[in-house]
């Protein structure tokens, strides 16, 4: 696959202002992320890693201000001159705001944070929270999935399953491309790529796709959905159909991640920290974004759960064609999963390069300390 710069940050400067105080948190950070790459961002507490992530996502708190620099995501410039005045500094017309990101958030770039428990709504079940972003970004996807599954031809499906039985995988892939649209394809692929099923189960599940038919009333509502959404009783049925499809989609994502799909209807307080973290990851990847920022995703997990989470990330990277920005204190974990490492100290990049180079020959004193601090067993 050709390499392309997805995220490029140049000379980014961010200050935090209060009535009496003005602190530079980022002092000129340069950063880049290519397709299919994992970049680790290391630094001690307060070095500006999280601020960097928030700046990229355009979620800085009100008293923070981007002073200078440029951020381009997928080749587009994100920062524009702010017309708002700052809360304390009257002369802050020169500040920049990350305006362009609002359209990309949740679609092209998402974020997974630490302590998932506080990031999930306690009143909604986790399934809904996973597929929620599909509802407002890509409702058509849900409709198209329902429609195209309804229009599936059982003969073609069984032909495809026959190809699978004959272990003719190249032929099967070709058949898949020729006969199904992308919405059916993603449903079939989500079954085939699962690790926890036997071949027999997979075939049964694929054949079962052709058996879930709408009744004629539901079909009528789906095909006249712009009208139906205006009539109170009908809009409820339409919403219900969309939600059911959303749960189905969320279940597919969880299945691909190798998790139990029975957690869909549970509430956040019923799940463990590791599970919740996985739920956050699922809700981040459901819209097929290209970049995920992970802000210390493992910091509240025990070592085994950490290891599992990162294995999960590797698996997702393979299945979903993702690039990751991985923020952590812990350089050992990064050494296992990151392609490149960027070390930040006091708001500036002090060292950047291939992961193995940085760990084996750290040149900066700060990085040396970081590597030295790892307890060897």
């Amino acid at each position: 696959m050709e390499k392309k710069e997805l995220v490029k940050v140049k000379n980014l400067k961010v200050v935090f202002e209060s009535r009496f105080d003005r602190r530079e948190i980022l002092r000129g950070v340069d950063f880049s992320l290519n397709t299919n790459e994992t970049v680790g961002l290391v630094g001690v507490n307060g070095s500006g890693k999280s601020t960097f992530a928030m700046t990229l996502m355009g979620l800085l708190p009100k008293n923070a201000k981007i002073v200078s620099g440029s951020i381009s995501i997928d080749g587009m410039d994100m920062l524009v001159k702010s017309v708002k005045r700052g809360p304390y500094d009257r002369k802050s017309d020169d500040a920049l705001i990350n305006k362009g990101i609002e359209k990309l958030r949740g679609r092209f770039i998402t974020m997974v944070t630490q302590e998932a428990a506080s990031y999930l709504d306690p009143l909604l079940n986790v399934g809904y929270q996973i597929f929620e972003s599909v509802l407002f970004h890509d409702e058509d996807r849900l409709i198209k999935r329902i429609e195209s599954r309804d229009a599936l031809n059982n003969d073609i499906l069984s032909k495809y399953v026959k190809l699978l039985t004959a272990k003719d995988y190249n032929g099967a892939d070709k058949f898949l491309d020729e006969n199904f649209n992308i919405y059916v394809k993603e449903q079939i692929l989500s079954i085939i790529r699962r690790d926890d099923l036997t071949d027999e189960d997979k075939k049964n599940l694929i054949l079962a796709l052709g058996r879930t038919r709408l009744n004629s009333f539901q079909r009528f509502i789906i095909s006249n959905r712009s009208l139906a959404s205006k009539i109170p009783g009908f809009s409820r049925i339409l919403k219900r159909l969309l939600y059911e499809e959303g749960y189905r989609l969320a279940g597919e994502i969880l299945g691909l991640m190798g998790l139990d799909t029975s957690i869909l209807r549970m509430f956040p307080n019923q799940l463990s920290g590791g599970m919740l973290q996985a739920v956050m990851v699922a809700s981040a990847i459901i819209n097929n974004p290209r970049v995920i920022i992970m802000d210390e995703p493992a910091s509240s997990l025990d070592p085994i759960a950490q290891y599992r989470l990162f294995n999960l990330l590797n698996k997702i990277k393979k299945n979903f064609d993702l690039s990751l920005i991985l923020i952590a204190h812990d350089i050992t974990l990064l050494s296992r999963f990151a392609d490149r490492i960027v070390v930040i100290e006091d708001g500036a990049v002090v060292e950047a390069g291939d992961a193995s180079d940085i760990i084996n020959n750290p040149s900066n004193e700060y990085t040396k300390n970081l590597v030295r601090s790892v307890i060897k067993i």
Partner: protein, 303 residues
């Protein structure tokens, strides 16, 4: 098929909530008392002849000048007061008036207050200042003064009294909603919903509102008691629209003039005011359990 299974699920949830609610016997007692009050309201509203009442809107049909003041007895279980009013039917009528006027007042005040507080806190800045100073104005006026002023200015009837009580009680909800919105607004939950690209309006409706309203709902029952007390106070100080309105506070103030001869005419209506307030407080307590997802999940696991 699907409808049937949905119905079963609904019934199962309902019985679970009932079991959680009644796990505390005090809550059950509150529920029974309030059910009595509601049953009285419904019967008097739709078929008052069932319990031998002809016109539930006025006391004047109860006057029986031949009877005079009688102690509680078998014929008159609550006794009678001057002009021969049968206190039993009067109290039953009064409960209906109180409940029917208090419910809309509480719901309107809660909706208005929650809306104002939520918008003020979420938008922040100048909006916050303007809206909250406006609510402070209403907060600072005692409700009796507000009721007197508005009924003098507009007209002395129950609609005006109810609307002025809405204005008097909505600041309470605005303050609740504002404080809980401020917490939720800065919570990680809202940050993450922004990170997946949710718009402000959507975040407000789907994430902020349900979390704010659950705090307000538990206050609903408490304010209901306050509003009924307010109605009683207003009638007690003589602001009732006319001299034949069946209202618990009015009955109390009416009986006060004859308290040395007929103490039961004061005690019995006040007892019902106290019962209503206590039961609503108990229900408000029980509601807090129901609205806590943690308690509900524990009970769900048990069953």
């Amino acid at each position: 098929m699907k409808i049937k299974s949905d119905l079963m699920k609904f019934i199962r949830n309902l019985s679970l909530y009932f079991r959680i609610f009644t796990s505390n016997k005090m809550h059950l007692a509150g529920l029974i008392i309030i059910l009595f009050f509601l049953a009285d309201t419904v019967v008097l509203q739709f078929s008052p002849w069932l319990i031998g009442i002809h016109n539930p809107n006025t006391l004047s049909s109860d006057y029986n000048f031949n009877v005079g003041v009688i102690q509680p007895s078998i014929a008159y279980p609550f006794g009678t007061t001057y002009l021969g009013i049968n206190l039993l039917t009067a109290v039953l009528k009064a409960i209906r008036i109180d409940v029917l006027y208090a419910i809309p007042v509480v719901i309107l005040a809660a909706l208005l207050g929650t809306f104002v507080g939520m918008i003020a806190a979420y938008l922040g800045g100048i909006f916050d200042e303007i809206l909250m100073r406006l609510t402070d104005v209403f907060f600072s006026i005692p409700y009796i003064v507000l009721v007197i002023a508005l009924s003098a200015a507009i007209s002395r009837n129950f609609t005006v009294i109810s609307l002025s009580l809405v204005l008097a009680f909505f600041p309470l909800y605005a303050k609740y909603a504002r404080s809980s919105t401020l917490i939720i607004k800065n919570s990680n939950m809202i940050l993450s919903s922004k990170a997946i690209g949710s718009s402000d309006a959507r975040t407000l409706i789907y994430h902020v509102f349900p979390n704010v309203i659950s705090a307000s709902i538990s206050q609903l029952a408490l304010t209901f008691g306050l509003v009924i007390g307010a109605f009683a106070t207003i009638a007690f100080i003589g602001l009732a629209p006319n001299s034949s309105v069946p209202e618990l506070g009015y009955l109390t103030s009416f009986g006060l003039q004859y308290i040395q001869i007929a103490p039961w005419a004061v005690l019995i209506p006040s007892l019902f005011i106290v019962l209503l307030a206590i039961s609503l407080n108990l229900i408000g307590d029980g509601m807090i359990d129901l609205l806590d997802p943690y308690t509900v999940s524990i009970w769900r696991k048990k069953s």
